[in-house]
Amino acid sequence: MTQAGDPLTEIYQLALHAAPSGIMVVGDRGDIQYVNQTLADMFGYRMEELLGKPVEILLPEQYVGAHRRHVENYALRPEPRPMGSGRDLEGVGKDGRRFPVEIGLRPAQTESGRVVVATVIDITKRKAIEDRLHQHEEQLEELVTERTRELRAAQREKERVLEHLIQAEKMTAVGTLVSGIGHEINNPLYVVLAAAEALTDETDIGQCRTYGHEILKQAKNIAETVKNLSRYAQPGTRHDLQRVDINASVAGAAHLAQRALRGDQIEIKITTSPAPAILAKPEEIQQALFNLIRNAIQAIAGKGRIEIHTAQEGDWVTVRIQDSGAGIPQAHLKRVFDPFFTTKGPDEGEGLGLYIVRQIVTRYRGTIDVDNATGGGARFVIRFPLADLKNAAGEEHS
């Protein structure tokens, strides 16, 4: 295949030997007809050692059988095959050292028959880099997985703490209510006691009946107060959604808030319109309304007025609660529903009141908005979908 003395051939030879890839020509029977210097060096042979040898001496033993079949198949349908067509191939050097190679094949026809020109690249270094890269990728993936796990755990912890604080906030509110409501129970209870005492000494039947009626009236007062309180204080004890009359909830929450929170100097004006029921847990609606009214009372700090207005607007039941306080600074408007956002002192709650309101409202597919009224005070608007429209939402909420 080579002819010494031909200057052009010599140049070709020099060029071939200088090529960075190993080049070899293999005959139809798998015999090596030519190798360049690069290929001989790659496999640790002298060039002449390889000429005439079966190409399989350059392959690890376990590939030999498979390689023969490849050669036969390739001979049947010879076509150029690019380098690195995806398979991990290995070569074996004279010293038995195995190393990864990439092989490209190109069939050619010569005067002496059909041959295949094979280009061979030792990809040991590339493989090592790829392996390292792969390792790094795996490590990175592991890190990402671990970090994700940590983040999830942190998120879960955060949610747990938040849930805990919400519960604590509720309990604080219940505590305030209980001591505040004590007044509401103790006063009528005192009247009951005095009337009962008088009753035991009374001989006049007419007077006895008067005392009896008084006791009845006061006992009913107490029962009503306790009912309002328990509606607030036992969230989550009832699991069924009910048709809730928003007007009754507003009245109950306003009654509780005014009596329990020393809101004596605050006038609460409620304007109701006949509104269809919404589907919810009544205690949660009452809690949301209570928190909003409490917020308004705290915003007023002294003498003032709270206006509550209920209405049906299209498919929604709306409640507007407007106070005569100083309003909410523009910069705070977007943040008032954030957990722990508070402008109050450290003893006045965790800043979860409005967050809880928003949670409850959105749970029932409602919306809540806040802005400042023209008069200056804050105005909260909550909207709930009508009960008859939201059966699907109700089923989801368990």
Binding site: G182, N186, N187, P188, Y190, A195, Q265
Partner: protein, 128 residues
């Protein structure tokens, strides 16, 4: 001889209950539904009031303000606090300053109220 008790409580039912419990005793009841009314009654007729029974939580001026006024203007008139909103801190505060002679919580039994009013009235007598 009749003695006079000024009852200051915003709730008519409660004032009626006190009146009922003190019925048949030597005490005659004067009623005030807010602090200003109580002050007017005292200022118009200072000598005849022997004991003041005073609520704490009331609309407008609170019982705390009222007690401070009584102490300043009528230091010899004994004040009994009768509240439905028991507040330990407030009770201790009242007692420390000796602004009130007794601190009762609603509901209070008839015997206990009469005893407290009697004791307060006698204390006044001794004090004078």
């Amino acid at each position: 001889m009749k003695h006079h008790v000024l009852v200051l409580d915003d709730e008519a039912d409660v004032r009626a209950a006190i009146r009922l419990q003190l019925k048949g005793t030597r005490f005659e009841i004067l009623e005030a539904e807010n602090v200003d009314q109580a002050i007017d009654l005292l200022d118009d007729n200072p000598i005849s009031i022997d004991v003041i029974i005073c609520d704490v939580r009331m609309p407008g001026k609170s019982g705390v303000e009222a007690v401070a006024y009584f102490q300043r203007e009528y230091p010899t008139t004994p004040v009994i606090v009768l509240t439905g909103f028991p507040d330990v801190t407030l009770a201790v505060d009242f007692m420390k300053k000796k602004d009130v002679v007794d601190y009762l919580t609603k509901p209070v039994a008839k015997d206990k109220l009469i005893a407290a009013v009697e004791q307060a009235a006698q204390g006044r007598k001794l004090f004078e």
